[in-house]
């Protein structure tokens, strides 16, 4: 597995899972563009990437902003070259204050859909012409096991992730004839900045977790839900991304793969 000479873009690549993906692709030789709204963290991750693969860049991108998405394409092409690998990882779990509500507001629904689904479509549409022109490209979308079946909390988040799986299936079919593959990964439970907030929400919202701190909620969920009885790591997700974008997976498209210790089998 070797991505030497290839150009990768990772949205939400500044922290958490996205950061691990960027570092993994760099480790295999790719130049990586970090596209994130968090400029400071993005710059730090880009510096780490540079140490690994020698080439990285940052473009402050809000995936919900079409103009920014087009700017990202220009900046990537100029600084690193035409894109080979796109990882749509940026995601949120609600609008401001969602962790301490026991219901979803209209803003939760709108903003979550805006970032997790429409943002993904924006970025994909922006990079698609380059990939079509080359008749090759690899796209991986980060969904979630929350998108696999209904859950008693965060309906707006689960629905947005189900939409990500569906989007992946449809766009995979559209792009297949151009030798472009698109697959989704459904991570299980990972201790990242996002899950710290989810832990707050569950403690606030669900009687079973009342009074627990986020990490305690997280550990309790793992004990209850994960057959392998261990948390998943950003590294796990990054390894699976690396598989999907490698030559080894050239004939895999339109799939969603759960990386979740057996939480949800499919």
């Amino acid at each position: 597995m070797n991505f030497k000479g290839q150009v990768a873009v990772v949205t939400g690549g500044a922290t958490g899972i996205g950061r691990a993906i960027a570092l993994k692709l760099a480790d295999k030789g790719a130049s990586v563009m970090i596209a994130d709204i968090n400029e400071e963290a993005a710059a730090q991750t880009a510096a780490e990437v540079k140490e690994v693969s020698g080439k990285s860049a940052v473009f402050v991108t809000d995936v919900t902003d079409l103009e920014a998405c087009n700017g990202l394409v220009e900046a990537t092409t100029e600084l690193l070259g035409a894109v080979d690998i796109l990882v749509n990882n940026a995601g949120i779990a609600g609008s401001a204050g969602w962790q301490t509500r026991s219901y979803s507001t209209e803003e939760d629904w709108k903003q979550t859909y805006q970032v997790n689904v429409i943002g993904m479509s924006n970025i994909t549409a922006a990079f698609q012409p380059q990939m079509i022109k080359k008749r090759s490209g690899r796209i991986v979308n980060i969904a979630s096991i929350a998108g696999r079946e209904g859950r008693p909390s965060l309906p707006h988040y689960s629905a947005s992730k189900a939409a990500v799986i569906s989007l992946t299936q449809s766009i995979a079919l559209e792009l297949a004839r151009f030798n472009i593959t698109m697959n989704a990964i459904c991570p299980g439970l990972l201790w990242t900045p996002m899950w710290e907030q989810i832990g707050d929400r569950y403690a606030y919202d669900m009687p079973a977790y009342e009074g627990m701190n986020p990490r305690e909620v997280f550990d309790a969920m793992i004990a209850e839900k994960i057959p392998m009885q261990k948390e998943q790591t950003p590294e796990d997700i990054a390894d699976t991304v690396a598989f999907f974008v490698s030559d080894d997976a050239k004939n895999i498209t339109g799939q969603a793969l759960n990386v979740d210790g057996g939480f949800f089998m499919r």
């Binding site: 004839r177 004939n251 895999i252 057996g262």
Partner: protein, 266 residues
């Protein structure tokens, strides 16, 4: 290399997809035991692996017999000292003569389930207590996209493959607490002796493809069904198996991954 000092067993490894899996694992450093009924073809694969610099061994095995899969594990441990990976790949399209029967016979149902389902169960049962005791093990089962949904025409085979996916989930659950991963690969359309016999059956049972050679029937099916527009190869399946059997996929269990150019989506 992922499989340095590891030992893998591939049932049905003498031909077609099993051969591809065996070669891919060997290329990544594994010792490979070819467990098959067909000694002559198996010996050729063994020689091929050895000439590539890895160790290989033929073990005459009938996966429909528990005593035989027990023997397979014993012989492997004697030969190489340990078993790390079991790939349950052996499969059939029916009892002998199935290619001439439009309606499957009782024997076809029996043979398909004996090899495609009990074959997986037998192999798994022979190795599970050993893997549990050792605290390490990877099992990858080969089902088929045919197992992803009912279709007219080949219900024996499709039903057995659906059962294979289900059986894999059962053992994934059971073995998860011991850190043992059980996953399934669902191949799409791969030109092997098995597919040749499926094409023969279509010809001899008067399905629309009469007049074409088996290979032409295969190619026609590929162009009708595969969004990526090309056949899949035994190497593709081998690469997916190699990923799922590696420590890079240690958080993935109970999953079924389609390697099918996008024929079916999961």
């Amino acid at each position: 290399m992922d499989f340095e000092d590891k030992t893998a067993i591939v049932t049905g490894g003498a031909k077609g997809i099993g051969r591809g899996i065996a070669l891919e694992l060997a290329r990544r450093g594994s010792n490979v035991v070819i467990a098959d009924l067909d000694e002559e073809a198996a010996r050729e694969v063994v020689a091929e692996i050895k000439s590539g610099g890895s160790q290989s061994y033929y073990c005459e095995t009938d996966v429909t017999q528990q005593w035989s899969t027990d023997d397979m594990i014993e012989v492997t441990i004697e030969e190489f000292g340990h078993v790390d990976v079991l790939v349950n790949n052996a499969g059939v399209g029916g009892a002998s003569g199935f290619t001439t029967r439009k309606t499957p016979s009782v024997e076809d149902w029996q043979a398909t389930f004996d090899v495609n389902v009990y074959g997986i169960v037998n192999g798994t049962q022979s190795v599970e207590s050993y893997m549990v005791e050792r605290g390490y093990g990877k099992i990858v089962n080969i089902a088929s996209v045919a197992g992803r949904g009912g279709r007219p025409g080949f219900a024996t085979y499709a039903a057995s493959k659906a059962a294979a996916i289900n059986v894999s989930q059962a053992w994934a659950f059971k073995l998860a607490p011991h850190g043992i991963n059980v996953n399934t690969v669902c191949p799409g359309l791969i030109w092997t002796p098995l597919w040749e016999s499926i094409a023969e059956r279509r010809k001899s049972t008067g399905q629309p493809s009469t007049g074409l050679t088996p290979r032409q029937i295969f190619q026609q099916t590929v162009s009708e069904l595969v969004p990526l527009g090309r056949e899949q190869t035994a190497d593709d399946v081998g690469n997916a198996v190699a990923f799922l059997a590696s420590d890079r996929a240690s958080s993935i269990t109970g999953q079924a991954l389609n390697v099918d150019g996008g024929i079916r989506q999961n």
